[in-house]
Every structure is written in C-alpha cells, then in structure tokens.
Symmetry: C2
Subunit: 922 residues, 2 copies
C-alpha cells in the first residue's frame, strides 16, 4: 500500500522544526468542531484535524467530529493532568455531535461510536495511538445489534474495542487478548471439527464473541485493577489522555529526533463519529492520491479494499485492489470520489493523499493532506501543474525540496532490477553502493587494497572505524540515527550510508549478520541505498541519474528567479565540464593541490628538500611547465566563464612521507645495519635520516593553523610566482587562440591586509611580465579567501586590495569554533549532536549566529570599502540549501559548490529569492 | 662620556613610532629662525631644533641660527631635489643671521662660520651627518686669521672643513685625507728630526696646513670631478642636501627599524653659527645632566673638557674631567651654567641633558633635551620631583615606562662585580644569565640534561634551534634585531637574550668564538645581560632585584590612580604568594594541568586508559584527594581574594607518551622478539602495542582545536565533577577554619552557550552536594574563558550562564589569526615581523583591530545581557602595557598576568586611567 511506502523524502534533520513565531494566542478554547477550523490551523489542530475541518467546510462528506487542540496537549504535558474545563468542553461538543448524528454515545437503542485519533502539526505516521469504536459497552452492544441487525458484528466491535482500549489506554499486552481469542478459536475448531489453524476470526459466532468479551473484561480488570469502564464519557477521557501520552512514547520521541521535530509541539486529538467499511460488500475502504505519487503521472491512483476497515489495509493482512475496482463495484461512489479528488486538488492546488471509507454505499472522507511524493514525482507534478495553470512557476519552485533534487542526482538502484530487500534503515547519506560485506575497518582497508569493493557493516561506528569507512563503498549500521557517528562521517565523506537498520543482528565473532531471516557472511555481496535506507542481498544494478524534461524546465525557472550566481568547486577539466552541464556559471574554487601530487610528487619533493636556491628554482620551473597545461585544460572547459584558482594552500609536509613511518623504518634499518654491517644499508639509513629530519623540520603541532596558504606564498620565494606564471601563460595561450579564459587568482588564508597587498603586487608583476612576453592581454582579477576569523574582522582593509572575496566557510567554521574537523567529527561532534549541545553540524549547515555573523560583517565592510567587490562562498556550505538561504539574505553574489550539488543550489537560490521553500524558511 | 652610554631604556619596537595625527599643516614656510620655534615643534623642527628654539626664547645664550624643517626633507625624499624656494628662504634667514652676528659667511675680513646638523623628531644619536666650520674658503681663511689672530688655527679649521665636507657631502673616503696628513707629518718629522709617530696634529704649522689644504683641494677635485666649492651658499646647499641624504643611510635605517621609528619622518637641518671651545684654555666644552641619570640622585652631573670641541669629546680621544673642574677654571661660567640648568629643569619640569661650549670665557648652550635615564633613576626622579612639588603624582606616573619597571624586576649583573665586557648587542629579552658556551642546540640539550647551565651562541637562530634555546639559560647571537627569530623565541620563553652582537665571530668547526680580541671556547663560562645587551667573559654575580622606597611609593600612587584590577596568573601556592607580594589582587588564572602531572601521571594514565567505568572512577577518586590539597594551598595563599580556577584544558594525549617514540620502541622490541624469541620481550611488546594504540586513538591532527577544554568536561564523565568536588571541598574546609576562600570556577574553551549551560549545572550540582555534606556554605562564581572566536560572537547568549568572562587572549589570538603559536613563532612569524607584514607580534601585544574587536564585542554584548558580568583578561597580554591600555579603554574589570609583571601592570593601568604614558598612547 502506498501509505506504507517510505517513498516520500525524509526531511533533513537540520534546525528543529518548530511552530511559527506566534506561539500561543491568548485563547482558552480547547475544542474545535470540524466546522470551526481550516487547513491553516495545523499548529493548533494538527494536520489531520485541520484538513478534516477544511473538507467539512468544503461541504465534503466527512463524518462529523471535533478536535481537541495541541494547546490542551501541551498543558497536559506540563501538568500531567487534563486541562481544567477540557472535558466539559468535550462533552459540549459531543452533545452537538450527537444531535447532528441523531445518535448518542452508549445509547442502548442506537449508539454513536467514535474514533479517537492523534494528529500533530507534522505527520508522524503510525507513531502515536488511535482508539476506534469508542462508545461500546454492555448496553450499546445491544443497540449496535439493533442498528446493524448483525449481532455477531456488534459483539466483534465490542471485543475489538476492549482489546484496543486495553492495549492503548491501560497498556495491557496484546498477547493476553490474543491468547483468549486463540482459546475461543480452539473451542470453535472443536465444534467445527477442523484444525484450529484453519479457524478464522470470522468463524467465531456472536456467542463465541460474547464469551470472548467476558473474558476480555475479566482480563482487563485483572491487569488494570479496575473494571472495564462502561461509561462512554469515562472511556473518552481515558482515550484522550492515552493519545496525549502517546506523543511521548519512545517510538514517537525517536521519530521526532530523527526528523528534527520539536518535542514541545504536542498532538491534537480528533474525535470523530465512526463509519464502517466492513459492513458487507457494499462497504469498503481505500487510500488514494490525486496523481501517481511515485512518478507524478496524471490521473488518480490508489487502492481499495472491499468490506474492510482502514486498519485492515494498514495491517496488510489482505491485499487491496487498484482503485479502478471500486468503479466496477460502485460507480456512483467512484464518480463522487473522483469529483472530490479533482476538487481537492484544485482547492489545495497540489496533489492530495486521501483516505476514505464507503459504508453501505455511502462515501465518507476520513482524511486528506498534501501527498508525499518521490523526488521524480515532485518535479513532474510541479512542472505539470504550472502547465495546467493550477499553480505559478514561483509556487512550482517551492514544491520541490533541494534534498529531493539531491536524491535525483546520485546513483540509484535500477528500478527494474529485482531486489531481495533484507533490511530497512534510516537513509543517512544518499546514493547507492554495492560491495562485499566486511565487519571491521582493518579488513575493509585490507580488502580494498587488494582491489575489492566493500560495504562496512557495524553495530555502530566510532573514530577507530573511520579509515575503514573511507575505504568502503558504503556503510550499514544496526544502530544510530541521522546524527550518529556513522551518518556524520559518511555524509562528510560522500559515502552512501544506511544507519539504524535495527532488523540486522551482527555476529562479529562468526563474521556474519542476520536480517529478516537471511544470514549474510563476510565476503557476500550486498547493496545499500542511502537515499531510501534500503538494504538488499546481492548485487543490484545501479543507474546513473538521468534528468527528466521537467527537471530541466524547473531548473530553467529557478535560473530566472534566483539572484545568487551558482558556481562549482572543480579542480580538473573533467569536473569543470560536469559542473557546466549541471548549470554552473563558473568555477568558484579550483584547488591546485592535485597539481602537486601524483607523478609530480618527486618534483615537488625536490623543490621542498632543495638545499640551494638553484635546485629549488629548477624544480619549480619543471612544475610550471606541467601546471601550465593543467590550467589550459580548466580554462578551456570553462571557456567564457570565470575560474577562481586558489594558489597552493596545504602545508608542505603533506607532500612528504609521514615521520612516524619514517622513524620506524629508520630504526629497522639501523638495527639491520648494526647486525649485518653492510655499507649499503648504512647509506640507505643515512638517506632516510636526512629525509626524516627534513620532515620533522616541516612538521607542525597544528598544521591547520601553521605554515600554509599565503604564508607559503610569502615565505617560500618563487612558489606563488611559479603558479601565477603558469596561470597567465595558459590564459594568454588560449586568448591568442580566440578563447576567453576567465582568470581569477585567489590567495588563500589571508588574515592580515599586508599579506594580500604584498602577494597581489607579486601576482601583478608576474602577470604583467607574461603579458608583455606573450604580447597578449588577458583581464584577470586578484582576490582572497575569507577563511580566518581575523580576515572577516578586518575585511574593510583587506578589500582595498581585493577584487573579490570568497568565503572559505569550512576553515572559517573550524577556526571560529576552534573545531578541527578531522578531530571533531570523529570525536566529540557526534556526542554534541546527540546531546543537543549542537542542533546542527556546523560543517553541514552554516552556523548563522557565529560564523554567519563574520560573513555578514566581512560582506558589509568589504563592500563599504570597495563597492565593486565580488563576494561569494566556496565552502561546502555553498551546496546546502539552508545555508544558501542565509547567503542570499546576506546578499552574496554567488555560491560555489560541488558539481553534483549545482542543481540543488540553483533551486535553493531560487527559493531564497522567492522567499519560499526550505532555503527561505530559516 | 655620558652621551655615549646607552644607559637609557631602549624603547620596545612595538607599533611604529609615528608623528601625531595632524601630519601636514598647510604651510609652505620651510625655514624657522630659532626665535620662531618652541619645544613642542619637534615633528617639524626635530628635537634639537625645537629645543634650541625653546632655549633661545628663554633668553639663554644660544648661538643664533635657524632650522630647515622636516617638511623640506620629506619633499626632498619624494622628489630627490631640494624643494623649490628652499634655498631662497635659507639665504633670507642667513642674511638675518649675518646681520645678527655682524659677520658674513665667507667674509675675507671677519667671516661667519656655521655648523649644519641633522635633528629628527626622535633622537638618533650619531646616526646622521654633521658638517662643521661651513663657510671656510680661500678668502675666509684669511679673515679667520685676522679674526682669531691665529693663522695656524684658521688653516687647521679650513683643512678640517674640507676633510669633513669631502667625506660627508661628496663621499670621499677619510683615508685619502688621512694619507695626506700623514705625509705632512712625515715631512714635519724630518724637519723636527723626530719619529713620525711622535708628531702630533698640533705640531703642523700654518704653512704645513696651507700645503695640506692645497693637497686636500686637489684630492677633492680628483675624487668628485668638481672643484672644491668656494662659494659659501653652494657649500651650504650641498651640506643641507647631504644631511637630508644621511636620513636614509644604512646605519640610520637600521637604527630606525630597531627602534620602530617611521622612515617617513625625515630630519630637520639646523644651521647655527659656530662657537669654538678650542680657542685656548679659557675655552672648552661639556655635557651635563641636571641630576644623575644613572641613579636619579639630586645635583648636577656631567663632564667638561677644556680647550676642545664637542667632536673631541665624542671621539673619546681625550678623557674629560667631572663638571666640577669647570668651577675651578671659570667660576662665573660655572655659576651661569648651574643657574641655566636649574632654570631648564624647572622649565622642562624634568631632568635635562645639555651640551655647552665655552668660547674664550663665554658660555654657549648648544643643545638641551629631556635626559635619558636608567630605570632606577627614572623611578627616583619621578618620586623626588613630586616631593619637590616640581611635578604632580599624575605626571610622575607618566615618567616611568612599564618597560623600565620590567628591567627592575629581572635578575641583573651585580653592579659591584668586575666584568670583562667582550661584546655589546641588542637587548632583546631582559634579564641576565650565566652559563657555559655551546654552539648548537643538541649540545645545549645534552649538557643541560647532564646538569650544566649553558648559554647558546649562534650567528642567528632558526626553528631547528628552538629546543636548545629552551634548554639554555640565555641566548647570544651575532646577527639580528629585536624581531629576529632568536629575539622572538627568547622573549616568548622568558630567556635573557642578546642579539646582533656583531663584534663576535663564531667558528663553529673550531667550537669557539672571538670577540674584542678575546677567544671563548665551548664550555667556557660567559654572562649575558639581555636588559642592557652586555656580554661578559666569565661568571658575573647576579643580583635579584630589590624594590626601592621610591618604587613602592610610585606603585602606591599607581594603585590610587588605576581603575583596572590587577590579578596574577598563578598555579601554585608559591606563585600565589609571590604575586600577592607584588601587589596582585587575586588570581585571574590558576591552571590545573600541573595537578595532573609529576608523580600523579601514573594515576592520570590509569584514568585515561581505563577499560571500565569503575577503573576510571577509582583513578579519578585518587586524583580528587590529591587535588583537594592543591586547592587548599592556593586558596590559603590568596585568602580573602578571588581565585579563578580553570578546569582541565589540555588534550589528554599530552599526558601520554609520544606515539612516534613508542612506535620506534615497539619496532625495536618486535625485531628483538623475532631474533631472541624470548617470551618476556613479546609480553613487553604487547603492552607497548596496547599503549601505542591508545595514544594513537587520542592523537589529533590539530590538538589545539580538538578534544580539549570543556569538550573534555562534556565527553568524559566525571572529570570536571572530580575537579569541582576537590575545589569545593577545599573551600569548605578552609571556610570552616575561618578563612575566606574566593572561589571562581572557570570553564575553558566554551564556544556554544549550551556547553556552559550544561557544565554550569553540573558544577552547581556538585557544589550543592559538597556544601550539604560539609554543612558549610561558600559563595562561588562560575564563568568561562572567552578564547574561541565564536564565544566572542555569541557572548550575549553565553553571558546568560556566566558570572564572569576571562579573555584567554593567547588562544583567541591563535584562532583569530589561525596562527598556531608553536608553529608560527618558530616559522613564519619572524619573517612576517621582519618583512613588516606584521608590525607587532600579536602574541606580545594584542591585535586591537582583529582580536581586540572580538574583545570589545564580547564585553559589550556580554554586559548587555548580564549587567553584573565581571570581565577580565588572563592571556599574556594582561602583562603588556600597550594591551593594558586597550583593555582599560574597552572597560574590562581586571587584567591578570604573570606575578613578575604585576607591578608593570599596576603602573600601566594607572597610565591608562590617567591618559598618560605608553599604555595610553596607542
């Protein structure tokens, strides 16, 4: 059934979802008739209540009822008592309901039955409790018999009510009741002379059920030390309290933590007259969507189950038929439903999800809401509805979340592949991965080094596992939520990850896990989909995302709407091309580190370890020739668009071997030399010793805050000059060939205006020389990263020498918090998120009060001193929708993000500009 | 001679000394008669010119003259030409001077001679050039003969003038002239029939000198391709230009760099009629101070040299007599001088330094200025002058610099000790040290480990030498200034250091150095005085400073004047006692790290490496008992005053061995195990491996920004609770005994308000429990360090849970600049200071624009949200006078510094409050 599919996007657990600013209007009214509310009152009436009210006011056939507000629930949570006056108000509304229904609760002649359902501001499907058939008692069961002319049915309702009430209101274990039912079936089987396993619930007669009810009442009294309440008003008060309490059951608390819903919201309670879909084959129940929630295709879509109640559908005991079945059974009801769905879609101006029941031919609407949808459906729906003139383009842009786009852009399971789902968990980091199961980080690394692909499976991860996580294709854990260590690290590393798959049981010693009755051993292949949280046995074919026509259309609208420019962080021509395909309008950050790695490492080491200026200059010269070609490639791929190239940033010891490894090796050589007394060993040892001492000289206690960035440029003569020369030579070469290289040279880690002043002068000097030598003029900009807190604080001065600022929000976050990301994410950050010391990981979504304040100061003061200053962001936050909303508010010129996030950023920027969608909501 | 003693304090090269704000009044007047200026016009007229003007206007006997302004010099530096109109103005003033003197420049009958002297805003003794006897030519030499009736004298004047003019104006080597003089002496020796070495300048006759002049003129023409200028106006223009040029000679530039004087100031030029102290024994010259500049004792003090010119005194060829000698020779002149000195001291309201000449009985004042003085003299003078009602207490407090106090507080050479001074250098880090000479860092460490005391002697230092510098008692380098690597590191480490002792020549291979003709070998003892820059062979007895009566008086006045409280950073009862003696009003930072070191390390390691909660708790319990006694000691020593105790801050791996050492050791054990196959070795290896993996788990890539400070408190259960319990138990124990412990608990590294909220609640919980158990109530405060940039940016929120803020400006500087101090000071910081990228080391004096802005924001916003918030500083900046001035301006409640700097801080705080002295000037 569609409702059970967790196909809708899980919202990201960023800042807690909270009620709108006006929290508590000074009202004391605690109960609303459905006719008194409307769809915008979700905070007070919950989603279900607000929508029932809306439908009631639209004149749709909604079983009458009323809603007890979330205010009442909040008071209950504070005081642990039902608010004074609540039950009086309830009684009052109940009387009105009874008048309207012309039936009375508990009436021995013609009783009214009601359902008591939870319903909070944000949907929390299945997390809280519901009591149905309330109003059944020893007297009304007779009335129901008369009313329905079906004694068996009436007694079955009664026993169901006691069972549900006992379980939910008093907390009696379901097994106790099942045992009694089983005994009744056993008795019946003897009478039927058949095997007990063949006896169905429906085989129990009215008399059987009467006995069952007696037993149930006894059990109830035994377990709860109180008689089963016969008074409907007592039943109602107890049920309301039970629903309030269910807001804080563990399941609901965990769901809210995972989804980032505020614990203080509370739930409303809907008391509604019951209608029955199980009164024969002219009755039934169904759920439907006004369009296909999986694909977004036009036309209603849903399931119908004749002679059943909603609970039967949810329980999945019987398989429902497609909605079309109803058309055959009851054309009138079907047509009415169809009309209502058209009306609802028009009214809500969105695809709606409804629940309905048909009682003896009559259609009743039980629920509606804007339907959840898969990411492709979200995009198609939005674009289609604009074409149908149902919504505007602006609205369409607000209808797709950036996260939905994100899910469209990762590799996914081939939808046509057959898959044996063995577990479901929390979708912690999007994308799909296939690999052999391993259970520890060392094995992961070992196997990967042998060329295998692996999926690391753990109960939960900790810092000791990080190397294995980086080596693995994907990660699966049995425990944890979206802020668990595994989730945080996986997202940081861009690895697909499913956490909290609590169905799996790992046997580390046996090197296997069990899930859903299936045992998977180390080395067997599984596939994990971090977008949906699905875990599958065996290899699932993965498909690369293909953007639909609607996707392109929607992003075209986004481009028209947004004010922020969108660039990509790309270091190579390949990345640049991909970014351009995704719609990037330039490169906001081209790192040059990789131009010093790979087969160039020996040359780089020559430069670093040079003992004379001449040696160093020669090595730099070799590098220049190679890097010039690197830059030609990047400029070509981005021809006509700006390319911000960051001069070398990392500390030099990153280009040398690790000193601990060297020290151990040296010790080994030393001992071998002592033992073997071979000259060669001594010579090798002497070489290693020299290298070790060079490495130790360059090592730093806190490299993040050491000799890196512009400090390299200032202290190492020739390094930046070499890079600038290579850049300008590449640009001049292309310009001569008719290309349009967009050169922007970015000096990293500036914190002192003079640093930029000196290095800018050097850049200009080199550029002038290259242009003079080549006879080609290429316009270029020189700017800086703002990534050190001081740079933001003295931005006014720095801007005097900068043509652009690019906020390096990763490092700015590290320095502002004094969080070394490497250390923090593995260690205390997880704990901080779990303990609510931090609401959001500041490396995922920008810290607006602290780091953001620096961004604001620097932008304002930088522009005050240099009104032409271009200002952008090139930290990872440039791809985070909430952060994009913030950057738009601050008034930056552009954001730059990884190529895959460019579409997301385009949408988020449009939403920010339009004041709609997630990027605008924080 | 007193002028040559570098007894005055060298000013600290902090921010460049610059002219007052109003730089260029729109004036075009380029020449001022002495009568037109006054002592406050130093920026325009230079120090010498301004004071000559002042004396002229006081009616003192000053040889008339005029001053060419620094404006003219600045124009000259910009345009490389004398400003248009300058020489016309000069001619004009010259005519007036001639009228006044009734003599004319170059007059063949009765010529006027003038001196042309430099004189800039800040004294730069001997750095620039002077031309004397200007106006001598072939005609005026005859006039001078007539005037003086001394032909020999006139020709000697002439040859001196050509020599000086040739050397200074045209740049002819002095040797060329000396050779000619030597030849003349040789000729004379033949005539005298004596050895040439016995012929003196004065033996040369007028005729000899006439020949010499001819030779000089020829040489001049040959070397300068131009005839020696006969026209006095031409001589004057050339001399003025030469003096302007001397502003930028290398010597002057280096002096300015060392003293932090702005290169753009330029020099004035004083043209003054010559008076002659060498016209016989009724003539003479001298320098004098109105009180003893060495001790501050009352009564004039100076030197006199009969029949000599100032240059003779400076050249040190003849030894002057005490000033009293003049009294015998010329009582009238002496009395007049004495009267003038009294007048000057009264007029300048300070001790003055004067130069005078007596020409044939008549006294002429050539210069005066406020005299430099030693630190003890500065203190005594200030206090005495208040007693004499010459100045106010407020003025007295402005007369002593905090640096002078600093010098009074370090160990110094015993002034009574005999010392063989072998070199002088730049006083880079105060205090004196004695030790055996070593020439490399490794030897330094090795010897120190054997129990020796060493002085590290290097040409200059670099990061590879740092471990040796820390091991050494003192450091001596042949090269470098106050911002050299050696100087920066030594000041940071508090080691006495003399740099740039350019007389020493090191022979590393021979392990010895030579200086002043003396050879010192490795292992020989030397003594260095970093306060004065003196290097002495052998051991000099050191004396601990003893504060004088005046010192105590002055600081008493400071305490009355200051608004900032002064606390000390002290971790032990001993430090606390010392701080209290120095006048500290509490402890602003008691670190607790040391309570986890020493013989407690094994317990700490047990806690860190514990495998169960019980193991850890037990270790923590052991620590608590020990630490409780630590706190008792500190509270007792500071009884009645506040003690801010910082809970544990450093990362835990600091308490474990280094992983590289462990890895190497493990490798050795592994190999030994393989070879020997002894079970014991394998067991030891297994132990080491376990320890290594624990260390590696705790190691961080950037520990400064890792798991430390409050993060430890939040993530490690029990640690902070243990410390708080120990603190409160100690406090309660003392309170019960009648003491008054001033408990302030400080949580370090807070950057997120919730961190403090949670830990504060824990502190309160523990405190309540302890007070309940002991039945004693002790008031206590809980606050936090503001040392992470974010803490400053969200200070308003943090202040809701803090009773005090203490700025940890060391870490705040590190994070704000992204400067890891350990790495930066050894690496790029020196280069930054040398290249003027940084004007000041931000770890020595607070960066007011960047870090200071955060301090301001946090103070303002913290107090807005919590008006009772106490705000202080406990970084090293708390002892830096300029920084103290800033903190006073921001309005902090107190600063806290190392005990030895408490007196300095008291004075600086007073100066800040009074708006006088260094702390107020930035």
């Amino acid at each position: 059934m569609a409702r059970r599919r967790s196909s809708g996007p899980k919202r990201k657990p960023t800042a807690k979802r909270r009620p709108p600013a006006k929290r508590r209007p000074s009202r004391t009214k605690l109960v609303y008739d459905f006719a008194e509310g409307n769809k915008d009152m979700k905070y007070l009436l919950g989603g279900k209540g607000a929508n029932l009210a809306e439908m009631t006011n639209l004149g749709l056939p909604v079983p009458p009822g009323f809603t007890i507000t979330t205010d009442a629930c909040r008071t209950y949570m504070d005081t642990k008592k039902l608010p004074p006056g609540l039950m009086a108000e309830v009684e009052d509304h109940l009387r009105r309901l009874e008048r309207k229904m012309k039936r009375k609760l508990g009436d021995p002649a013609d009783p009214l039955l009601v359902s008591v359902r939870s319903g909070s501001m944000f949907s929390m499907p299945g997390m809280m409790d519901t009591v149905l058939n309330l109003g059944m008692n020893d007297e009304s069961v007779e009335g129901l018999t008369k009313q329905t002319n079906d004694e068996r049915y009436a007694w079955d309702c009664y026993r169901r009510f006691i069972q549900m009430f006992g379980k939910i209101v008093v907390g009696i274990s379901g097994e106790v009741f099942e045992d009694i039912l089983d005994e009744a079936k056993l008795a019946r089987s003897k009478k039927m002379k058949t095997k007990v396993s063949e006896v169905k619930d429906t085989d129990l007669t009215a008399d059987d059920l009467r006995d069952v009810v007696d037993h149930f009442k006894n059990v109830f009294q035994k377990e709860s030390k109180a008689r089963f309440p016969q008074k409907p008003s007592m039943q109602l008060a107890m049920a309301i309290e039970a629903v309030f309490n269910s807001w804080n059951n563990r399941r609901a608390q965990e769901y809210r933590r995972r989804e980032g819903i505020d614990d203080a919201l509370g739930t409303a309670v809907n008391v509604q007259s019951m209608v029955f879909g199980n009164k024969g084959f002219d009755s039934g129940t169904g759920v439907a969507f006004t369009r296909d929630p999986g694909t977004g295709k036009r036309g209603v879509y849903g399931d119908y189950l004749a002679n059943a109640q909603g609970e039967d559908v949810v329980a999945g005991i019987r398989t429902p038929e497609p909605l079309a079945a109803l058309r055959k059974i009851n054309r009138k009801a079907y047509d009415e439903l169809d009309k209502i769905m058209k009306l609802l879609e028009k009214h809500y101006r969105d695809m709606c999800d409804i629940e309905f029941t048909i009682e003896q031919g009559a259609l009743w609407m039980l629920q509606t809401r804007v339907g959840k949808r898969t990411p492709p459906a979200a995009v198609k729906l939005a674009v289609d509805m604009v074409e149908e003139r149902l919504i505007t383009k602006v609205e369409a842009l607000g209808r797709v979340t950036p996260e939905q786009l994100d899910q469209l852009l990762h590799p996914q399971f081939d939808p046509n592949a057959r898959a044996e789902v063995i577990a479901k968990g929390v979708n912690a980091s999007p994308g799909a991965a296939v690999g052999k199961v391993v259970f520890d980080a060392d094995t992961a690394v070992e196997w990967v080094e042998k060329g295998e692909k692996v999926v690391l499976v753990r109960d939960e991860t900790n810092p000791d596992d990080v190397h294995g996580m980086y080596a693995a294709e994907g990660i699966l854990t049995a425990r944890g939520g979206k802020t668990s260590h595994a989730a945080v690290v996986a997202r940081g590393a861009g690895k697909p990850c499913v956490v909290g798959a609590d169905g799996i049981r790992i046997d580390y010693a046996g090197k296997k896990f069990e899930s859903n009755g299936r045992t998977i051993k180390q080395g067997e292949v599984i596939s994990v989909d971090g977008t949906t949280g699905t875990v599958v046995a065996g290899e699932v074919k993965l498909v690369e995302p293909k953007p639909s026509k609607e996707f392109t259309t929607l992003l075209g609208w986004a481009d028209q709407a947004r004010k922020l420019g969108i660039r990509a962080n790309a270091d190579t021509p390949e990345d640049a091309k991909r970014a351009r395909e995704f719609g990037a309008e330039g490169i906001g950050l081209a790192r040059t580190e990789h131009m010093f790695l790979g087969d160039r490492l020996p040359i780089v080491r020559r430069a670093i370890l040079a003992e004379t200026d001449a040696e160093r200059d020669e090595a730099l010269e070799d590098l220049r020739k190679l890097q010039r070609q690197d830059f030609v490639g990047i400029f070509k791929a981005m021809d006509g668009l700006p390319v911000t190239i960051r001069l070398l940033d990392p500390p030099l010891h990153e280009f040398l071997p690790d000193s601990k490894t060297l020290a151990v090796e040296l010790e080994r050589l030393r001992i071998a030399g002592d033992i073997a007394r071979i000259d060669l060993i001594d010579r090798v040892a002497a070489d290693r010793k020299k290298l070790l001492s060079a490495v130790e000289r360059l090592e730093e206690s806190n490299p993040m805050m050491g000799m890196r960035g512009c400090r390299l440029g200032l202290v190492l003569p020739g390094l930046y000059r070499m890079q600038v020369q290579a850049i300008m030579e590449a640009a001049c070469e292309l310009k001569r060939k008719g290309n349009k290289p967009g050169v922007e040279i970015m000096i990293p880690l500036v914190g002192i205006p003079k640093e930029l002043e000196v290095l800018r002068a050097e850049c200009e000097d080199v550029a002038r020389r290259v242009m003079k030598e080549t006879g080609v003029r290429v316009p270029y900009l020189v700017g800086t990263m703002i990534e050190v807190p001081r740079a933001a604080l003295v931005a006014g001065e720095i801007a005097e020498d900068a043509e652009f600022f690019s906020f390096g929000t990763n490092d700015l976050t590290q320095m502002t918090y004094a969080f070394s990301r490497d250390d923090a994410e593995g260690k205390f950050l997880t704990e901080y998120l779990e303990k609510d010391i931090l609401e959001v990981n500041p490396f995922e979504s920008i810290d607006q009060t602290g780091v953001g304040r620096l961004v604001e100061i620097a932008t304002r003061e930088g522009r005050e001193s240099n009104p032409k200053l271009k200002v952008g962001v090139c930290g990872e936050h440039g791809g985070d929708p909430t952060s994009i909303g913030f950057f738009a508010k601050v008034g930056l010129d552009y954001v730059s993000c990884s190529p895959f996030r460019v579409p997301i950023a385009r949408l988020a920027a449009a939403q920010a500009a339009l004041g709609s969608g997630e990027a605008a909501s924080k």
